[in-house]
């Protein structure tokens, strides 16, 4: 097989006075090829020396991570829903018949379920279940736009709090997300907690949000495929 080898033609704009349409003139192609070659040489030199640290400026490009292994599934024996998650990134903190806790670094995502369809009550129950000795000063930050679990729409809220380690030590701010969605008399809830990230619009760190969103999206409700 012939290996691909791409070479750009780097050409000035068509609007530059005195520049004819370039595709028809060999001379210009030769000049462009020379420019391209020079650009490649310069680029190669520069690439060897540039820094590799990514810092997001005011607006950011793609957040690119590495690929990972395939998903692992948890199925709730009590309620029948299934959560697929990336076991190369998320570790299981705890699981039982009704739900599972998935952890990554300093962040956690907890799925659970309950009978009924009271979304607001389910969200409030999540927050009321938090240990206020450890998560102190919980403040409502507003709603989660487009809250959904497994493509079923629901409700959710963001909260801020200060995490105080149970065994002592330096506390730090965290962002909490509580969501609840209901279908056919079953309500599934998702609680996410992560160190607050002030560079994020929601204060929830984007890299963690991406991983958690995957599991939240990949939740399958009972009776669905």
């Amino acid at each position: 097989m012939t290996l691909a080898a791409s070479h750009y033609q780097v050409l000035p704009s068509e609007s530059v006075p005195g520049q004819p349409r370039l595709r028809h003139l060999h001379l210009v192609v030769v000049i462009a090829a020379a420019i391209a070659l020079l650009a490649v040489v310069i680029t190669t030199v520069v690439v060897q020396t540039r820094p590799r640290v990514l810092v997001c400026r005011l607006t950011c490009g793609p957040q690119v991570g590495t690929g990972s292994l395939g998903p692992t599934a948890y199925t709730s024996s009590a309620f029948g829903y299934r959560v697929e998650y990336d076991s190369s990134i998320l570790t299981v903190g705890r699981r039982d018949a009704s739900g599972i806790e998935l952890d990554t670094g300093g962040s956690s995502l907890v799925f659970s379920a309950r009978e009924g369809s009271d979304l607001n009550g389910a969200v409030r129950a999540i927050v009321l279940g938090l240990d206020t000795n450890v998560l102190q000063g919980i403040q409502d930050l507003g709603i989660v736009q487009g809250a959904e679990i497994g493509l079923v729409e629901g409700e959710g809220s963001y909260y801020s709090a200060n995490y105080v380690p149970p065994g002592g030590g330096q506390g730090y701010p965290v962002t909490i997300v509580a969501m609840a969605c209901t279908e056919r008399g079953l309500t599934i809830t998702a609680l996410a907690v992560a160190p607050a990230d002030q560079t994020s619009v929601t204060s929830f760190p984007q890299n963690v949000a991406q991983v958690f969103d995957q599991a939240i999206t990949e939740t399958t409700w009972p009776g669905r495929q």
Binding site: L3, A5, H7, Y8, S13, E14, S15, V16, T43, V47, P51, R57, L58, T59, G61, P62, Q63, V64, T66, G67, S68, D86, S88, R94, G99, E101, G106, S107, S108, S112, A113, D118, A125, L128, G129, D131, Q139, D140, L141, Q145, G146, A147, E148, L151, Y159, P166, Q170, Y172, V174, V177, M179, T189, V193, V201, V208, Q210, D213, Q214, I216, T217
Partner: protein, 580 residues
């Protein structure tokens, strides 16, 4: 980089949620208040005042450039032309619909007397004007300041809104620019599992078309980009998927369009991000239409975007344009109307001259203001002014799920609540509903504004992103293979599909599809005689606000393509509209 310590939150000790979730819901949630709402300022002033440090006025001789949106002639006749998918030559465009040359000459004289240079060619819907800061500030009655954002990024921007000086009205109907605050790109994030070109072909039923030998040959896809990846990145992609080498031409004009990012740029990290966007665009098109020629217009100055777009349109008649650049504004921001109207005039010329334009609808769902840095509009439901033009095809995103054979299974509107990411979409508050969106069955009659997006394509990053190769530095190691999503992938997806359809039509001596919206909405209404359903209608999910469902929705538009059906439909359409 600083931040909280990376340690386990110890959630189980804190929450006991697996038990707590079954407790009865009584009492109330903790008290609190949303983030403060400030007075609505112009978006750039808000960025400056709320997030950046004002370093004071720019130097008196700092070169500034503004873009003037120009009034087109015969707007009613032009609207009729576009609604009926009529086409004109560039010369006819300049003579009939483009700005009045006599009026432009008068504008140029006024600008010259003010010490400003101008640049315009007959037919152009926009004009650029530039000069030292003080004459620019004096003529346009603005004050331009330099700002620092968190000691990592500096930019200049006008204080307050730009308005058209009365001396230029009515020939000039919009003014934008005087800032080098760069609009964001819409590329999104990585995902654990990516789709190969062959998998996307199977997913969207392209294989029968490709099996006829159609690969986009003879077609040109044009992209505006901020930076280019090195050739080795594209080579890695081509080799990985057994594709021919890329056929790419790069157009640059640093004096007019600004200096593009390079690996040696002061903020080289921007180069990595922007070159990754270009790599994604080029690779998606090459993966699906490897015979297509690709042309990149590389710019470095965000104030020149409309100028560059004008150059693309003027010099690539009948081509296919794909853009994943997003306007920094949302429609409800001050200044957005001027930006929208300037771009819309250029898009109208493209449509009239038979050029297809696909524009990514954005990656923040229905909340187009989220990433523009203006907290006063951050929670507003709004779309970007670039995609709201009725003369551009806005491409939204979906989460596509292949079946076990790789074919189409189901699709949901793209929305990721924790990331606040999703398919850009909503109802324009600037442009009214175009005639093609009033096709019965294509859209709810109750809406009065232009609906966005028109169509969609796979953009999800949680389940099934696109496998591409990105520049080193965006991840680890050289030419990193990574799955990427976002509507940045969806726009070139449709550009590539259009190249395949255009080549199929050319083989039958039928004209290229050109501005596709009137035909797409006709297909969406399932008219009598239509060979096959053109779209996979999307009935699940949301874009964080608008739910999917129905023939059209503001999360996924008409849906994603069945390319074989779509090709048959366009053949039927072209034979019907061009008998003999």
């Amino acid at each position: 980089m600083t931040g909280p310590p990376r340690r386990a939150v110890g959630l189980l000790a804190v929450v006991a949620l697996l038990v707590g979730c079954t407790a009865s819901a009584t009492g109330s949630a903790p008290a609190g208040s949303p983030a403060g709402q400030g007075a609505r300022l112009s978006p750039l002033a808000s960025v400056a005042e709320r997030q950046s440090t004002d370093l004071g006025p720019v130097g008196a001789t700092t070169p500034l450039t503004l873009t003037l949106g120009l009034t087109l002639r015969q707007p009613t006749a032009l609207e009729t032309l576009l609604d009926t998918r009529g086409r004109v030559t560039p010369a006819a465009w300049a003579a009939m619909y483009g700005p009045d040359p006599a009026a432009i000459a008068a504008v140029e004289r006024i600008l010259r007397r003010a010490g400003l240079r101008s640049r315009w060619q007959p037919g152009d819907a926009v004009m650029s004007t530039s000069g030292p800061a003080r004459p620019v500030e004096s003529f346009f009655r603005i004050s331009v300041h330099r700002f620092d954002w968190r000691h990592t990024y500096s930019f200049y921007a006008p204080i307050g809104a730009l308005v058209v000086p009365s001396s230029l009205s009515p020939t000039v109907d919009a003014v934008t620019g005087a800032t080098n605050l760069r609009p964001d790109i819409t590329a999104a994030t990585s995902t654990p599992v990516g789709l190969s070109p062959a998998q996307v072909e199977a997913l969207y039923d392209m294989t029968p078309v490709r099996d006829t030998g159609v690969d986009g040959s003879g077609l040109t896809v044009v992209f505006p980009e901020w930076a280019m990846p090195e050739e080795q990145v594209l080579d890695a992609y081509a080799q990985r998927f057994g594709l021919p080498p890329f056929d790419v031409t790069v157009r640059t004009d640093p004096p007019l369009w600004g200096q593009p990012d390079t690996p040696s740029s002061p903020a080289s990290n921007d180069y990595v991000s922007q070159a990754a966007e270009a790599a994604l665009d080029l690779e998606v098109v090459h993966g699906l239409a490897p015979g297509a020629h690709e042309v990149v217009y590389e710019l470095g100055d965000p104030t020149r975007l409309a100028t560059v777009l004008q150059s693309i349109v003027s010099n690539n008649h009948g081509s296919i344009i794909s853009s994943s650049i997003s306007d920094l504004n949302c429609e409800v921001d001050a200044g957005a109307r001027a930006s929208a109207e300037s771009l819309n005039a250029v898009f109208a010329e493209a449509a009239a001259e038979g050029t297809s334009v696909f524009w990514a609808s954005g990656d923040t769902g229905a909340y187009g203001c989220v990433d523009d840095g203006d907290p006063s509009t951050a929670g507003d439901v709004s779309i970007s002014p670039d995609v709201s033009s009725p003369d551009v095809t806005a491409v939204g995103g979906t989460e596509a799920v292949p079946n076990v054979d790789g074919g189409y299974s189901q699709e949901a509107a793209w929305g990721e609540p924790l990331e606040e990411a999703g398919s850009g979409g909503g109802i324009s508050t600037i442009f009214p509903q175009p005639a093609y969106q009033q096709t019965p069955g294509s859209k709810p009659n109750s809406q009065t504004g232009r609906g966005v997006p028109d169509v969609s394509c796979q953009a999800d990053v949680a389940v099934s992103g696109w496998t591409v190769f990105l520049p080193p530095g965006a991840s680890t190691g050289p030419a990193q293979e990574a799955p990427v999503g976002g509507t940045s992938a969806a726009a070139p997806c449709w550009a590539a599909i259009t190249a395949l359809i255009d080549e199929s039509l050319a083989r039958q001596s039928l004209p290229a599809v050109g501005f596709v919206n009137p035909a797409l909405y006709l297909f969406g209404s399932d008219p009598a005689g239509l060979p096959a359903p053109a779209f996979h209608q999307v009935g699940l999910g949301s874009n964080l606000h608008y739910l999917a469902g129905g023939n059209w929705n503001a999360a996924s538009g008409l849906g994603s393509p069945d390319v074989t059906h779509l090709t048959q439909d366009f053949e039927w359409y072209e034979r019907r509209t061009n008998p003999g």
